[in-house]
């Protein structure tokens, strides 16, 4: 422990701007610019737009959960309300000829989301913990339920829809095509991610962490824990509203679905999956989840089962989420021992992957066996066609699963040992480093 700490202590960072902190932003922006040239199909653009919106929403959510320690079960409200407002504004722009360029629409969503958060946060942020969680659940259900009642604003069952192309053209762009919308969304993604990152570096953002860790101590440093929570809550509401505005621009329709508990629950799932402990965690979560959702759901009916299992296992074994797993490798990297892990990883993860695929195949097989139409015995997995009523596929799949997991378990001991070694300095290395 002291060995690694002395390495870390050498640099003096104030968390400010340096090549180390600026480079990731430049690289990510460059990737966002290039992506549409790599994935040109319409469906890929749809997925990427969806991903960008989810990232903004997940980052906004993590301002509460990760930065501020507030667990919300109703955060879809702020995104949804922002989105609904944007749909109405979009329609006003169309019917009343209001000169509002489309790229500015998310600001209105953000302000409306922030307005909602100001009202609700004024009483819900008095405490964190269970009371906050329950109020957020109650408010979420209330607003989701009233969306069917207050037809004037929420449009009832069919929701509110509009057309983004009727606004003012911006430099000749009318946002007819997906690619134009992509760049609009990507621009807002970078802008809001940057603003949220900078927010976490401001006094109130720092104090949000302090209040999360120890609200009482924060009080004795001159800060009211309640106000710190309130400001984080409003800021989070703003960016959730921005995400809502982007949703409105992309899909041109908002319904009750955007407000309900399922949406609120998924954003919690996404954020936690990515990792709440790091700023970039929710970004990874949103990318992985959107990919799973759009790719896996085409392949199998059971995708939600797999996602659910992945989520439960993540909470149990990797409470730091995917970002936590990534960051676990920083110490071995700094010690220059990342290389030693490659072989044990291959030896463990490949059989484990085979085992997991085998298990999934077994689920698919059983699901087909139980629920397929009567007399339909043929199914295909990974391009191989077979009959579910012959014993051979069952034997092969069970065999592969068992062998895969057995091999993985056998080499996991070696992996654990290498991992342990990779996290401490060996004596020869120590001499070299000092």
């Amino acid at each position: 422990m002291t060995d690694t700490s002395s390495i870390m202590a050498k640099k003096r960072s104030y968390g400010g701007l340096s090549t180390g902190t600026v480079a990731p932003w430049v690289i990510c922006t460059a990737i966002l610019l290039v992506l549409p040239y790599v994935f040109q199909s319409n469906s890929a653009l749809t997925i990427m737009n969806q991903m960008a919106i989810t990232i903004v929403f997940a980052l906004a959510y993590n301002m509460l959960l990760g930065q501020g320690g507030m667990l919300s079960f109703g955060h879809a409200v702020y995104m949804g309300m922002g989105g609904f407002m944007c749909m109405h504004v979009m329609n006003w722009v169309e019917y009343e000829n209001i000169p509002l360029p489309l790229p500015l629409l998310p600001v209105i969503g953000g302000l409306f989301g922030m307005g909602m958060a100001t009202i609700i946060g004024s009483f819900s942020t008095r405490t964190a913990g269970t009371v906050f969680a329950m109020i957020s659940l109650g408010i979420g259900e209330l607003i989701a339920a009233s969306s069917v009642i207050v037809v004037a604003f929420f449009g009832g069952e069919e929701g509110v829809s509009g057309d983004r192309t009727y606004g003012l053209p911006v430099f000749g762009y009318e946002f007819l095509t997906k690619i134009e919308v992509y760049y609009l969304t990507a621009g807002w993604l970078v802008l809001s991610a940057l603003l949220m990152y900078l927010f976490s570096r401001t006094p109130v953002g720092r104090m949000a962490n302090a209040v999360r860790d120890n609200p009482e101590r924060a009080q004795f440093l001159g800060y009211s824990a309640r106000w710190v929570r309130f400001y984080s809550f409003c800021a989070s509401g703003f960016f959730a509203g921005v995400a809502g505005g982007l949703f409105a621009i992309n899909f041109e329709i908002l319904t009750e679905e955007n407000l309900n508990l399922v949406t609120s629950g998924s954003i919690l799932l996404i954020t936690f999956l990515g990792g709440v402990g790091f700023f970039f965690g929710p970004i990874i979560g949103a990318i992985v989840f959107t990919l799973l959702q759009s790719v896996l759901s085409l392949q199998t009916e059971l995708w939600q089962l797999y996602v659910g299992a992945l989520f439960v296992l993540t909470v149990m074994y990797f409470p730091g989420g995917l970002a936590g797993v990534l960051m676990m490798h920083v110490v071995p990297y700094k010690l220059g021992k990342l290389g030693t892990l490659v072989v044990p990883y291959i030896k463990t993860l490949i059989p484990a992957a085979i085992g997991i695929l085998g298990l999934a195949s077994f689920c698919e097989l059983m699901f087909h066996f139980k629920h397929a139409a009567v007399g339909e015995h043929d199914m295909s997995l990974f391009g191989i066609e077979f009959s579910t009523h012959s014993p051979i596929p069952w034997i092969v799949i069970i065999g592969l699963t068992v062998i895969g997991f057995w091999l993985a378990k056998r080499s996991s001991a070696e992996l654990r040992e290498t991992w342990g070694n990779a996290n401490v300095m060996t004596s020869s290395k120590e001499g070299g480093a000092q």
Binding site: L65, G69, L71, F123, R126, T127, G129, T130, V131, A133, M134, I135, L137, G138, I139, E141, L142, A145, S146, I149, V150, V151, A152, L261, G265, L268, L269, F272, L302, Q304, L305, G308, A309, F311, V312, V315, M316, P319, C363, F367, K370, H371
Partner: protein, 318 residues
């Protein structure tokens, strides 16, 4: 008058059902500090297990066996899942149970499909026991009330008259002290979790035939159960009982009496706008009580949390 009686009975059925869930949930919360988001999922599992058993052995063995299986499953999940997450703190625990709820729903769909399964009340109980005016009261409803009351009395007996009950009662108010007194707290946790989920399972067994057995049944009841224990006060059994009955009657009354907002507004002296379809407040004018019935519990919860954060009967701050 007759209608009031019928509603009182229906509300009682619903309220007692809620109590069977909320009592277990509130016990688990006060002992372990875990708000078990998957509690209603165990209720659903109870219904499905009982359905599966009833296909081979009839209704009655299911009534006994299904809650036991659910309880064992619950205890196993506590032992091998929750206990592992416990070390990371309360928020990951809550998130774990949240994920569990999603997973259980998917698993149920995997085995029993997306549609409602034909799980029915036993034929012995499928008759009208008595009638109030023109409304027949099914024997099964009375049976549900009887079972719930029986469970309530058992719970009361165990909690007030037995040694285990004393420990649990002590743990409700002073969890740390009980641990310090040398009781095997992990074992008590597992037991309470098992019993709590078994109670939820039993609720599912008897509610399945009445309210329908389908994959969405947990979701439908899940958040209401939460609302119940929050209104009653986290950790208070009496609070759970009062809140359950309150919500049971409130929602049943709201669903049965068609009070229109327009009538109220006109009675107060507002004038009904002539052109309703374009009026800005048209939604308020067309509002009816059955429409807002389902959201009344949430409204009540938010109001209570704002003014009395520890609920009606709660002592400890959540």
């Amino acid at each position: 008058m007759e209608l009031v009686l019928v509603i009182l009975i229906d509300g009682l059925v619903y309220g007692l059902l809620l109590f069977m869930l909320s009592s277990g949930l509130t016990l688990i919360f006060s002992m372990m500090g875990v708000l078990n988001f998957a509690h209603a999922s165990f209720y659903m599992l109870g219904a499905y297990f009982a359905y599966q058993i009833s296909r081979y052995m009839g209704f009655w063995p299911g009534l006994i066996l299904a809650p036991i299986i659910v309880g064992v499953a619950g205890a196993a999940i506590e032992r091998f899942g929750l206990r592992k997450v416990h070390q990371y703190g309360h928020v990951p625990e809550l998130i774990f149970t949240f994920g569990l709820a999603l997973l259980i729903e998917e698993i149920v769909q995997f085995f029993w499909g997306k549609n409602q399964v034909p799980y029915d009340a036993p034929e012995v109980l499928q008759f009208a026991l008595f009638s109030i005016g023109t409304n027949e009261i099914q024997a099964y409803k009375v049976f549900m009330i009887a079972i719930s009351v029986l469970i309530f009395l058992c719970l009361l007996y165990v909690l007030t008259k037995t040694r285990v009950g004393m420990i649990i009662q002590a743990a409700l108010s002073y969890p740390r002290t009980v641990e310090a007194l040398g009781h095997n707290v992990p074992f008590i946790f597992m037991g309470v979790f098992g019993v709590g989920t078994a109670l939820a399972g039993l609720a599912g067994v008897i509610a399945g035939p009445q309210l329908g057995t389908f994959p969405g049944m947990a979701f439908l009841l899940g958040s209401i159960v939460f609302v119940t224990i929050v209104i009653g006060g986290l950790g208070s059994l009496w609070g759970a009982l009062v809140a359950s009955l309150l919500i049971g009657w409130m929602t049943t009354f709201a669903a049965s009496y068609n009070v229109a907002m327009a009538d109220i507004l006109m009675a107060v002296g507002f004038e009904m706008p002539e052109e309703m379809s374009e009026h800005a407040l048209r939604d308020i004018w067309t509002l009816t009580l059955p429409q807002i019935g389902p959201i009344l519990p949430y409204l009540l919860m938010v109001v209570i949390l704002v003014f009395r954060p520890y609920g009606l009967f709660g002592k400890r701050d959540a």
